[in-house]
Symmetry: C2
Subunit: 437 residues, 2 copies
Amino acid sequence: MKKIVPKILKGFRDYLPEKMIQRERIIDIVKNIYKRFGYEPLETPALEYAQTLLGKYGDEGEKLVYRFRDYGNREVALRYDLTVPLARVISMYPNLSFPFKVYQISPVWRAEKPQKGRFREFIQCDLDIIGSSSMIADAEIIQIIYKVMKALNFDQFVIQINNRKILDGLISYLKINQEKSLSIFRTLDKLEKIGVQKVKEELSKQEIEKKKVEKILEFIKIEGKNQQILNKTKKLLQKSIKSQEGIKELEAIVNYARVLEIPEKNLKINFSIVRGLDYYTGSVFETRLLECPDVGSVFSGGRYDNLIGMFSEKNIPAVGASLGIDRIFSAMETLKMLPEKKSTTKVLVTIFDKSTEVFSLKLAQQLRDLKINTEIYLGKGNLSKQFKYADKKKIPFVVIIGPKEIERKEITIKELKSGKEKKIKTEELKEILKLIK
Amino acid sequence: MKKIVPKILKGFRDYLPEKMIQRERIIDIVKNIYKRFGYEPLETPALEYAQTLLGKYGDEGEKLVYRFRDYGNREVALRYDLTVPLARVISMYPNLSFPFKVYQISPVWRAEKPQKGRFREFIQCDLDIIGSSSMIADAEIIQIIYKVMKALNFDQFVIQINNRKILDGLISYLKINQEKSLSIFRTLDKLEKIGVQKVKEELSKQEIEKKKVEKILEFIKIEGKNQQILNKTKKLLQKSIKSQEGIKELEAIVNYARVLEIPEKNLKINFSIVRGLDYYTGSVFETRLLECPDVGSVFSGGRYDNLIGMFSEKNIPAVGASLGIDRIFSAMETLKMLPEKKSTTKVLVTIFDKSTEVFSLKLAQQLRDLKINTEIYLGKGNLSKQFKYADKKKIPFVVIIGPKEIERKEITIKELKSGKEKKIKTEELKEILKLIK
């Protein structure tokens, strides 16, 4: 057994208790909202057959899938997102009842170039509605995004929505080969990252005439109030049946959102939002933080009516979205919005010396029986060292039970912040509940 | 995009909502006890440098580590347990305050031969105390095991404890080369699995004289009350300083356990318990279910005072244990101890028809504002189909808001189990809280 230099892989992170507690608080908020809307949890394996995952994420996505051969020489891959494994599940279990409303909170892995806000392992919080083609489903996903963002205390955010059918219709209206639409979407998705010029170059490489490229780029720049955009686009693309279908869907969502009291400042139609993944078929949405735009979209998704059909005889309509906890966390850190760092432990019971340790042990257990999160000090060192330990760990109360206390059948409890001390009779230990709340 | 047959890798499982809800309830119970004792959460990456994990699990354990080369040609491995990554963390972050009490609830991966109760991916719930050599720490781990088992409603279980130093002392007392002790431990660990005869054969292959093998096997069979065993062993191994040290530690734990009111029927000294992993140095423990012995140990651990030293300049003492959620789950399933299967959703709001959907949407949101987990029906079909859906999903209450209800400014709520119906005025919606509790 030789000495090993301890190190962590690039793009991966340890969550130490302080950050972990903060992250868990965020996840709990999200989970409770998902449950409030009637979603139930699902978990799939980290490893899948590679062929389950491949052919779903576009060329560039696919390059980021962690793949290897296992001991049985099977080609396996680490989960790249939670949507494709969900589609596999839907097609494997015939007894599910639809609509199937489900959430998943699990890590995914992507061999990305590590950079600020981009990690190789990160947690996604997905929610999906399988088996409903109603636009109420799309609106509900948007409503939940809105509720989650508000619950996390965000106000300056925009859920940007679009519908791929509109652009699809434009593409065929412009007499561009329909087979090119996925690659066009992938290119448009990079607009923000690589800029207009590079997008034009990429589209030219796909043998799309310059004039048509200009038309597309002009179209996705349309701005205004949601209803104005809808009216304008209805006229503009009146000859495209597919576009009209997309516009109708988008309009339905905007109307439902109004009923659900989602302010228009938080929900905006934006035709430049197309998403990079291959499997979206209708609505697509992204959520941007106005005060922290560089983290990218924190809550994205869309409708994927054909994905389940890739595994199954029949197509089942589906819509969903995914919250990137690590991006939200990083934004909340930047914006100083994280909940206060504190311990989940309320009381540290000190050990005065060897002769009194049994009393400390019993007392700690009594406090736990009162449902108080209580730690007993297990290190070496005198009371002063034990107090410092509590202070460093941000444990708010310290209890002393030394020879004097034992003799008087009482304990001393001290609040570290205020320095206030109080004696409590051991037979009235319940009194402590009033003190520590 | 060709059709893919949906399948899952052998040894891996999907957790569909029904089981997932049950498993989450178990995990919540465990997590709350860990927090009650002052432990804080930690999470490490799924992937580590392979060299971080290797050389810790014994030859046979090591063969089960999922290893591969990543795109950067680094040799990486999937987490095999939570203890070794914890040791890496401890040696990487110099600012941690000790004793460091920490819990981890995360999946691990082992390329095991899949069989009943053995999976290739399973969740471990670990708790560890780093930086304390006090036997109170070992006793606390045992106390928590006891509390967790009780909280999960187990009564017929035994926490079996031993201390490796005792056998280590015996080995050197028998003048067997001390370097062989790890391989002896690994063989003894298989006793239950392969039987006495095979253990003898394996020990002979390690060039241990037959007479000495008999002595070891005789020793680990010692039975009786804990104090009797301790007294007997003290005499038997009085010449071995190392054994005496182990006996003293074991005795201290047994005494603390008595103070903590852990019944002797749930805590028994058993010298045949050695654990297979290389890193244990003192106390070792396993927890057996008397009514379901074939799931093996459900909660195991021990003291590993040298593991952190493999990564770091200085050794830091440590003790911990790991609950196998999937084994416990499987046992609880067998013993019919799982909490009742039910939905986390309380109310299904139906949609009468297109003309009333906006009322349903608004009502659902009002119910959620009352903190009621509420689903709105998003499928197609009439009320009868919607009722069937609620019934299948075990949602206890269904709300109807049709044209009549809208006219009268009320809703109809029906409890599916009893069939009871009630009308509630929409302006007195809060009344619903009394009904559904």
